[in-house]
């Protein structure tokens, strides 16, 4: 087969991959700009640029959201869902990182009996089917009076953010040179000093990456958010989007749904693209090198 045909086929394959990957999002964007009945005209290229769908999604308390509302925390509707997601994901990630940093030090730098077993246990926790702990979690949340409150989700999300952050941080910490730690030991540093003054400054890119990946996972979560929240004031973004309803029971508001999707996805995509390399390193550290 002549080289030019091979190269041509290769680039065709690449083009197909890129199109397949990006088209749905592109299509959601052009749909979100269409209003009224224009939505029901199928087109492959953008035809209009109306912002009505976005405005309808960004309504708070029945009217458009203003900065005044934001500063007075007078938010409801979809913007509130957005805020809920941000707060919950951030808090969960901070909590997980706090606990995980010291735990990863122990798992990666100190030899002790049962270490391998502990690692396997942590890994297996992240493999629990979420539905298998749902009854137990439901009971605890009910008992603590946290039902339909934010702490309920912060509590439940720990089940997957903590093992993940421990796993990835352990891999990163293992890669730090032994001799630097030994020099610190000779200098008289305690394990806590080693973590805070030597390792953390060297690890902060890894912390950012791990935090970002955990944030995305928490942001994405659906099952617990669906089960543990009742009213819109406490819903997170995924649940809100799945339940966007139109004027009547049979009318699905595709326009606003697409607009909401774009609002929610754009920041994530920007973050992911900026931190691409680090994210790929973090994912593969967790998945490949183990």
């Amino acid at each position: 087969m002549p080289a030019s045909v091979k190269t041509g086929a290769f680039y065709l394959f690449i083009a197909a991959i890129v199109t397949f990957a990006v088209f749905p999002f592109y299509y959601a964007i052009i749909t979100s700009f269409k209003t009224g009945t224009a939505i029901f005209d199928i087109s492959y290229l953008p035809t209009s640029f109306g912002l009505e769908n976005y405005l309808s999604v960004l309504k708070s308390g029945g009217k458009a959201l203003t900065w005044d509302d934001v500063f007075h925390f007078n938010i409801s509707g979809f913007p509130l869902n957005f805020v809920n997601s941000v707060i919950i994901s951030t808090l969960v990630v901070c909590l997980a990182l706090l606990i995980a940093v010291t735990a990863s030090f122990a798992l990666s730098r100190v030899r002790f009996r049962g270490r391998g077993l502990l690692m396997m246990t942590i890994l297996s926790v992240s493999m629990f089917p979420q539905v298998a702990v749902l009854p137990g979690l439901f009971e605890i949340i009910r008992a603590l009076g946290l039902f339909n409150k934010m702490p309920a989700l912060i509590f439940s999300y720990t089940i997957f953010t903590l093992p993940f952050t421990v796993w990835v941080l352990t891999t990163f910490m293992r890669d730090l040179p032994v001799e630097i730690e030994e020099a610190a030991i000779v200098d008289g540093a305690s394990p806590w000093t080693i973590i805070t003054r030597i390792f953390l400054p060297l690890l902060w890119p890894a912390l950012v990456t791990t935090g970002l990946l955990a944030f995305i996972a928490a942001w994405n979560e659906f099952l617990y958010a669906l089960t543990f929240t009742l009213d819109n004031a406490h819903r997170t973004v995924p649940v809100a989007i799945s339940q966007l309803t139109g004027a009547s029971d049979h009318e699905i508001p595709w326009g606003p749904i697409m607009a909401a999707s774009v609002i929610v996805t754009l920041p994530l995509i920007v973050l992911v693209l900026i931190f691409q390399r680090k994210i790929i390193a973090g994912l593969t550290a967790g998945g490949v090198k183990g």
Partner: protein
């Protein structure tokens, strides 16, 4: 001059002792958190499976042993009827759906991921853009993906129906997400779209660890590219692929979000997670649903043990210090 007597082991120095002590203190918060958030709820959920708990009255269930799993009642006519998850046809339908989905998605995603990874492993202008492009599906939240694809697959206004009609693949519009014959295909399409990038990246990382000299030596020896792939690349990338496959398989077996949002109430796609939750919160049968989720847990546990044993996969790479 080596001594004849066995040397007595002195035990740990102050340094080792201090480090060990710190290690246990450092691990304590994590272990406590995991116990509270994962260990205890799992135990309770398994326990609920042995009771007849009703979701609204959660503290008042009675112990019924394996009743949820399998119980029998003999009618006055002498016929015995069986109840329980293990004879529930809806359950086995869900199991079949889940396994079908998991196997198909993992096979497709691995094969496709391998192709994409191989393509990305080559250096060509615009490689960075392609890599960024394939991260887009991965970055989009599952629910959003479901909605985006639901819109594309819409039977009346969906662009996919339009496209297939135009190129003559179908003769009339199909409600992909609502028809039993096609709904699993729809779910698979979205999952493959969303997850292949992840598989591709994991495999790519494995590919990049293969040293270049091997390929150069093969080129000098004039080995056919297909043979290079089969005898050199594949065996060397096998560890990475094996790890990626097991992670993906476990995720696929647990799937909930996509099925729930894209094809709600479809018996052709209802997975184990979906039906378990349905029993717990829609039908109020917490005990019965817990039995289902416990079975799911067991199936996953056995799968991973078998996989690790048979595939001889080392997940922790704990050879370090």
């Amino acid at each position: 001059m080596p001594q004849a007597a066995a040397p007595r082991n002195q035990g740990l120095s102050d340094l080792s002792r201090e480090r060990l002590r710190s290690a246990w203190i450092f691990l304590f918060p994590m272990c406590l958190a995991l116990l509270i958030v994962a260990g205890w709820p799992l135990m309770r959920s398994i326990w609920f499976g042995f009771t007849d708990t009703v979701t609204d009255h959660i503290g008042e269930g009675d112990f019924i042993g394996f009743g949820n799993y399998l119980s029998s009642k003999t009618l006055p006519s002498g016929r015995t009827i069986y109840f329980g998850v293990l004879v529930d046809s809806e359950w086995w339908n869900a199991v079949w759906n889940t396994v079908r989905f998991a196997v198909l998605s993992v096979v497709c995603e691995t094969a496709l991921g391998m192709c994409v990874a191989l393509a990305l492993n080559a250096s060509f202008p615009g490689r960075g853009i392609v890599r960024a492009a394939i991260l887009v599906p991965w970055a989009i939240p599952t629910i959003v993906s479901a909605k985006m694809w639901a819109w594309m697959l819409n039977d009346q206004f969906g662009i996919i129906n339009d496209f297939f009609l135009r190129i003559g693949l179908i003769s009339h519009k199909i409600a992909f997400t609502a028809t039993d014959a096609t709904s699993m295909g729809a779910v698979l399409a979205v999952d493959i779209w969303k997850t292949t990038p992840f598989m591709a990246l994991l495999i790519l990382a494995g590919l990049q660890q293969i040293p270049n000299d091997i390929y150069e030596a093969a080129a000098i020896d004039g080995v056919h590219p297909l043979k290079v792939f089969w005898r050199l690349t594949l065996p060397l990338v096998r560890p990475a692929v094996m790890v990626a496959v097991i992670f993906r398989f476990m995720d696929a077996m647990r799937i909930f979000d996509l099925v729930y949002v894209l094809t709600p109430n479809s018996s052709a796609t209802k997975t184990m997670s979906v039906i378990a939750r349905e029993n717990m919160f829609d039908f109020d049968k917490l005990g019965y649903g817990s039995a289902m989720s416990t079975l799911l847990f067991l199936i996953l546990l056995i799968s991973i043990i078998l996989y690790l044993r048979i595939g001889r996969v080392d997940l922790t790479n704990d050879g370090g210090r």
